[in-house]
Symmetry: D2
Subunit: 308 residues, 4 copies
């Protein structure tokens, strides 16, 4: 299979070659806008432990909202089902940073993968901890999952996020006004901006997500990270809500649970098969990696890994 | 496997027994409100051609919105990808009959499984046909797929739908004002109300949906109904949008593409495994069969058929 | 004062001269789109019975939504305060034909001067009558108020409105689905489209509105049309809601109760002073007569008739 | 006339007597919730300089949003018409603290009398000043207008507002994310919470608003505060937007420009007649003083001061 997978990845790479550089690199903070738009990386790690990488798969990038999958995992382990009293599991039908739904639904975000929901998730990780401890927990989890102590927060990105963070501050204060944020807004935002500023390579990210493809356990270390049932549920939420207002389109074209970030990364999970990370900084109209989405669509078609 | 599946179905039935009769039977038309709330049926047809039925699996019920999956299939075969210029593929974040999104998005419904989108789908089936021909096409397709000429429209239900159909008339006129309905509103509604009034049993419905579980071909007749790629896409839409404003919840709890109807039926697809139909008239708060949803959650847990 | 008023009107006319022909003539029906964009008329009738006209003040035009003030008067006389159970008195913050608010507020339109509210008002006029009788009542009222039997419905306009009336049909069906329309949708629309298609000149319109400037009584005939208290309330609604989503702007710039129509007419009331009608077919971005609004702003500044 | 007005006020007081204590006192901060619900005061100051007071007209209360009329006056004097690039002049159709409209309209609040708009107004007063200077300017203006150096900020109220101010912080951050707030959010909120916490009696408030009833000049000191044209415009905005989502109702029942505050105060302006302040802490469903509104309706009916 390894040979086959390598061939498939080569096909994927050549199929998107003409599009590389397309899309619009996020420019709301300098550190992101400086990224070379022609970067493209892909890493696949199968449940058998095989890894195929191509392109800029070793280069760290800002994982941004992909981090929300991992903080959701941590929050579910920490608070369990009561998390769902504070955040829903439904797609929003709105942009990632929309506040309209929050007003209509009393400060309860629709799901944990839009900004508002991720802020609630982060808030639960702050319970009994200070912001440094909370972000350390998150980074430590990612280092373990990526099996690489090099995973780190890019302080410049975190600082920039903070300086341009009025929209997220608005979401946080809004939910707090409804009693759906326990921590101080500044603390929650501090951890949130740092988690978004975590840098990882495609290889690290694919490795880190492997437990989601393997029923909640790490196939290398044999460690059970979350239960199988909870793993299915996290994957279900990624399918329904992982690409903001284009989640349905991603399901339609790719057919895999996935989560995108504004840094151009996407983590996709082929249940019982593989964990896949792609990276290409140019974004499409709805804010998902343009080339990354195309690569995953091609990969899904060639492998037959679509869950549908 | 048959023995096992029969045991699993027996377990499912006993697990929901205490809940039978719960929920609220649709009462907006007399013919639906008269249905015995204690009805419960389930039919599973596997890709191997095995069938397991239990409860009231042979009793016809009003399939209502489950029909939208089949008209979508027909419309895609007829007009192909251009359908997506007229209807999206995203969940709505709103109730099944909401008109708010239509105003914000210029008369383009979010997806083909909410009422507005289904009306557009039905409109495409009217192109070059009169309403009788169009409904006949739909019924004929379902008879073929169910392998049963007894599938029929319940004229009383269709008439009642028509008499209480102001909300759907409003949606249709609204889209027409944006140029997104070609037929006359009365014609589109006539076909739509009749397709919703089609009566099928769980056994018929599971049989009819089998092509969606088998890469687009009928495993019994070996006929290719739609391409494998299109089948995956229909299933993806069912996953994202099949349960209205609770689609995310259904993905979370059941993990299968599915489509519910206000008559209490749900069609669920376990790709490469089986087609499943459940029926129980009592609805939950968002309008999906309460006991049917629970039965499918249990079935998914016992079989491991969740796609996640 | 007559001399003065004539001078003021001359000043108004010359002040808008350079703008005549600006704006965009309504083009959703042929009969309206054919109107010469360079038409401009103004008629002022004071409570003393003096009349000053200028420009195309004698030429009939389609009064369109200006009719809503008169149907509101009739409905209040017929059903009284219970009308307010079916329609609010608040501005909408939305376009004239928006349906979003109706969904959020259970089919109760915000006010009687947006389309949805005017349909409810028309519905009350149909109670116990057929559509011909209802439209005859409206025309008869306007002939009396205008003191001119020549007021009539333009049948071509009414027919065209009907053919392009999907948006209004959608509003009507929507409200009917909430039980807030008693008549048949076709009947209500028939009357509504005819009332909008009534043709009047500025002179007729100013004369017809005079009772609103004179505490509810006609200063010429001494007839009491509505009570003083009700007159104030109708004027208040015109101030709050008479210019759709630009009512606040009209209050800000003109400071008089008024009602605009898409035919380019505006009726403005200077309480205890005068009734004013202007007409210029070119509309501004929000659908009110561009030159008509400017003329009224100038008139208000010169006369000091602003209520503020 | 003085005798007459005193009689009228006596009638007003007795007409509302049975209602005193009705409504719900604002309880989101302790200092407001402690106010005796049976308080009722009224003060009328005519353009002739006559004053009639009754009830608790000398007792200071928290003016809250009534302050927005005065900061609007100051902001218009400071920045003039360009203010309207940053805030609209239309009613919202929404609650006083709604954020939905802001998202739909790119961070431009609908009018300066809802919270979001008032924050923008306050932001303009901070230009080139620190928060202490800005609030001092506001208090100084009110002391001059009320002709009473006793006007002051209630520090406890300001502190409590600040502690429960998440909703306003959310609005401020939201607008800042759209570039529609120049100052730091904390600075803007600090001034805003203090301006809302200003204490005034009915007598002081009626005196302070007198310039709005007298074409922009103070009839006692003969000082021109704002131009006549601007005065009319401020009054127009109060009419359209002064009572949040019930502005239309206030126009309908009272017919005067007015502005309410959650402390139970209402300032109403009878152009060319009088400035009126009422106070009664119990609020109706939309957050306006219940008894205060009734008193003004009665006063308007008895005096004929309605502008309509």
């Amino acid at each position: 299979m390894k040979a086959d997978l390598a061939e498939i990845v080569a096909d994927v790479c050549s199929s998107v070659e003409g599009q590389i550089g397309s899309g619009r690199v996020a420019d709301y903070i300098p550190a992101l806008s400086r990224v070379d738009p022609r970067k493209f990386g892909i890493a696949i790690m199968t449940c058998d432990g095989e890894t195929v990488c191509a392109g800029d798969a070793e280069e760290p990038f800002s994982i941004q909202s992909v981090s929300k999958v991992f903080t959701l995992t941590l929050a579910l382990e920490r608070v369990g089902a009561p998390l769902w009293d504070r955040v829903g599991r439904e797609p929003t039908g709105s942009a990632f940073n929309s506040i309209v739904q929050l007003e209509h639904e009393a400060g309860i975000p629709r799901n944990p993968l839009v900004n508002a929901g991720a802020l609630v998730v982060t808030d639960t990780l702050l319970d009994g901890k200070n912001p440094s401890q909370a972000i350390n927990d998150i980074v430590a989890f990612l280092r373990l999952r990526a099996d690489d102590p090099a995973v780190r927060v890019d302080a410049e990105v975190a600082q920039s996020e903070s300086e341009t963070g009025d929209r997220n501050a608005s979401l946080a204060h809004f939910m707090r006004s409804f009693g759906n944020l326990n921590g101080e807004v500044d603390d929650v935002l501090s951890v949130y901006f740092q988690q978004c500023a975590i840098e990882m390579s495609c290889r690290q990210l694919a490795r880190a997500g492997l437990y989601l493809a393997h029923a909640g356990s790490d196939p290398i270390s044999d460690e059970q990270i979350v239960s199988e049932a909870r793993t299915r549920r996290i994957n279900a939420i990624m399918m329904s809500c992982g690409h903001y207002d284009a989640s349905g389109d991603f399901a339609f074209h790719v057919g895999l649970p996935g989560k995108s970030g504004v840094g151009g990364g996407i983590l996709a999970i082929a249940p019982r098969r593989a964990s896949i990370a792609v990276w290409s900084p140019g974004l499409n109209d709805v804010g998902n990696s343009l080339v990354g989405s195309l690569a995953l669509e091609r990969l899904s078609a060639l492998t037959g890994w679509s869950v549908f």
